[in-house]
């Protein structure tokens, strides 16, 4: 009941015209970002951070804007899956399997509509799960000491690659690089200058916003330059909506199952939205096995993964909001926004910044409704965006990134840093070193060092305090397992996901 009161307060924050406007704008921009070629959710949110920062938006408004973008991008990703058989982002991969066959049978409009509805219910279920689980987890997290936090951060890094990740050692390397960058600047506790080499601009450390925008946006531009797929795609015809109310009703069980499964895999470290949509799809196939015709344009084959990935995107907010430990690239970027707003994420946020947390949660609910309302009538408009050629789009996006970074500090020094991060990001991505752990390392590095220091001061320099409590021990254990498991389970899971992709008769 206490939660309900907070939620109502949250609605009071989110429903002010000013915030509502930003939620609407965010939902719209997010869908746009999701369906534009070459712009994923992490990318889109990354570019908007400096802008939100430079505009001096109040914290709750900035967070509402970015979470709406996040939810919107998940909606948008499905459009190109259905129409072009090209997933807009990774979680939308499974939607191709039945979405594209539906489109080929001339039911593109229906597939788009039902997937919007499924996204809505998935998002709704995920948000309800978030409302119920987050306060409980936050209360539990209050009992964490510095040693537990230190182990939790390790756990976050170890699970970031996910069980489907390719080479966990590269995740470790990337995370270490990120933490190393975060140590540049004046040490908070002793005042020692570290790695500044006397350069004045480095005294305050390297701003992670530069790193995020460089690693995501600039390296993406370079990838497009390299692959030379600058030309647009051909225009698509959506056709008429023939979806009946009865058909929507029959998919409700699928929506519920997909949403719940998605939420669970969103909350769990290392699973995330891609696995959420995969699991929902496979389960649905097993439950309905003979009754369905999956892979040939079964409507439930569109519903399950869409409900799954939107449920997962809300679920992924749970560890980010309650523990300050994000589990995915996009939530890491959202965490960056929180930190740059001077809000310490974690359990205390639920008491100290209750208006922000609950405002964001309420905004997610409102955002889902807005997205559903936006997506059904405007789908034709979004479809037309699919044919915007990247050769015009990406340079403009890069320019917007420049503008954003420039307006934070009004200095060009930061721009060189951003370009350098872009070049480094390109090389690392080429070598299959993931960039998300670098960003997470940058964000969590200072906290990690602080907690390590506190833990050791409390124990009088006894290092074993780091794994003394049962909770800390289990964190270490899960972290260790997450680094070992990909070698064992990873190849198998990946093979099955690929096999599922190939099974569909139309995939090319």
């Amino acid at each position: 009941m206490e939660t309900l009161g907070f939620l109502i307060e949250g609605f009071a924050v989110a429903l002010t015209p000013y915030n509502l406007m930003f939620a609407l704008f965010g939902a719209f921009a997010g869908t746009l970002i999701g369906c534009l070629p070459g712009l994923g959710p992490a990318n889109g949110v990354a570019i908007l951070i400096p802008l939100a920062f430079a505009l001096g938006l109040p914290p709750e408004t900035a967070m509402i804007l970015l979470t709406s973008v996040y939810a919107g991008a998940m909606y948008g990703g499905r459009i190109s899956s259905i129409l072009l058989n090209i997933p807009g982002d990774e979680p939308a991969m499974m939607t191709c399997l039945d979405g594209y066959p539906m489109a080929q049978k001339g039911r593109a409009a229906d597939a788009l509509a039902i997937s919007a509805i499924a996204s809505f219910s998935g998002g709704l279920i995920g948000t309800i799960g978030l409302i119920m689980l987050a306060p409980v987890l936050a209360k539990f997290a209050l009992s964490f000491g510095p040693a537990e936090y230190f182990a939790l951060f390790l756990l976050a890094f170890a699970t970031l690659g996910g069980i489907t990740g390719k080479n966990p050692m590269k995740t470790v390397i990337a995370a270490t690089l990120g933490i190393m960058i975060s140590t540049v600047g004046i040490d908070i506790s002793t005042g020692t200058q570290r790695y500044t080499f006397g350069v004045l601009e480095l005294y305050e450390g390297i701003d992670f916003i530069l790193a995020i925008v460089g690693l995501f946006a600039i390296s993406e531009l370079l990838f497009f330059v390299e692959s030379r797929i600058g030309g647009g795609r051909k225009k698509m015809n959506v056709g008429k909506l023939t979806l009946t109310f009865k058909e929507i009703l029959t998919t409700i069980p699928t929506q519920l199952r997909g949403g719940v499964l998605g939420f669970i895999s969103g909350v769990l470290p290392g699973a995330g939205a891609s696995l959420g949509s995969f699991i929902s799809y496979t389960l649905e196939k097993q439950v309905l096995g003979k009754k369905g015709h999956f892979g040939e344009g079964d409507i439930r084959g569109v519903v399950a993964p869409e409900a799954g990935n939107n449920g997962a995107s809300s679920g992924a907010l749970v560890p980010m909001l309650t523990l300050g430990v994000p589990g995915s690239g996009t939530t890491a970027v959202l965490l960056a926004m929180l930190i740059s707003l001077n809000i310490t994420p974690g359990p205390l946020m639920f008491t100290q910044n209750a208006d922000i947390v609950w405002g964001v949660i309420a905004a997610l609910l409102i955002g889902n409704v807005l997205l559903l309302l936006l997506n059904i009538p405007l789908v034709g408009f979004f479809v037309r965006l699919l044919s915007v050629p990247p050769m015009y789009l990406l340079p403009i996006v890069t320019m917007v990134a420049f503008v954003g970074i420039y307006s934070i500090s009004n200095s060009t020094f930061d721009l060189y840093f951003m370009v350098a991060f872009g070049a480094v990001g390109y090389f690392l991505r080429k070598l299959e070193v993931p960039v998300v752990p670098i960003i997470l390392g940058l964000l969590l590095g200072p906290e990690m060092e602080k907690n390590l220091g506190h833990a050791l001061v409390l124990s009088d320099g006894d290092w074993s305090v780091l794994w003394a409590s049962t909770l800390a021990k289990s964190f270490w254990l899960v972290a260790g397992l997450s680094l070992v498991l990909p070698y064992v389970v990873g190849p198998m899971l990946r093979r099955r996901m690929n096999a599922a992709m190939k099974e569909s008769p139309v995939s090319d």
Binding site: L177, T190, T192, P395, L415, L431, E432, L452
Partner: protein, 148 residues
């Protein structure tokens, strides 16, 4: 020899780890005496982890990626140069002119016809400039176009 890319990366990271760790040992002891956790403790741990990771990479590299060669590599270098020059000229030339040039050049190199590339550059530059300076009251440099 396969996995050359990873081996080079590993070597580079190992050098970085050693340098990073070595620098950390040079800092003077902070005022008030040494404690268990000094400014050098955490960086030292990081250096060890990175060194171990880089050695692993050199011993067990992944298969090589397809690296761009010849013209594509040149295009990449050109794009990076455009970005750096863009940052360099943003203030002296002003936002509109430098953006037109940068966005135009990038679009053109990505395959757009010259005219539409620079038109895209100019129109996006003007739109963003007007939006930022008058709509959002953030100051982008006017540069050469400044009217006093």
């Amino acid at each position: 020899m396969t996995g050359l890319g990873d081996r080079f990366l590993g070597l580079g990271l190992l050098v970085l780890a050693v340098a990073y760790g070595w620098v950390a040992q040079q800092w003077p002891e902070p005022f008030g005496g040494a404690e268990t956790v000094g400014p050098e403790t955490f960086p030292t741990i990081l250096a060890v982890v990175l060194a171990a990771g880089s050695i692993y990479l050199m011993v067990k590299p992944d298969p090589d990626a397809q690296w761009p060669l010849g013209r594509t590599a040149l295009e990449l270098v050109v794009s990076l140069v455009v970005l750096v020059v863009y940052a360099l000229l943003l203030e002296p030339l002003g936002f509109v002119i430098s953006t037109t040039l940068a966005v135009g050049l990038l679009s053109w190199r990505m395959g757009a016809p010259v005219r539409s590339a620079f038109l895209t550059g100019l129109s996006s530059a003007v739109v963003v400039f007007v939006l930022f300076n008058f709509g959002l009251s953030l100051n982008l440099p006017a540069g050469l176009l400044e009217v006093n």
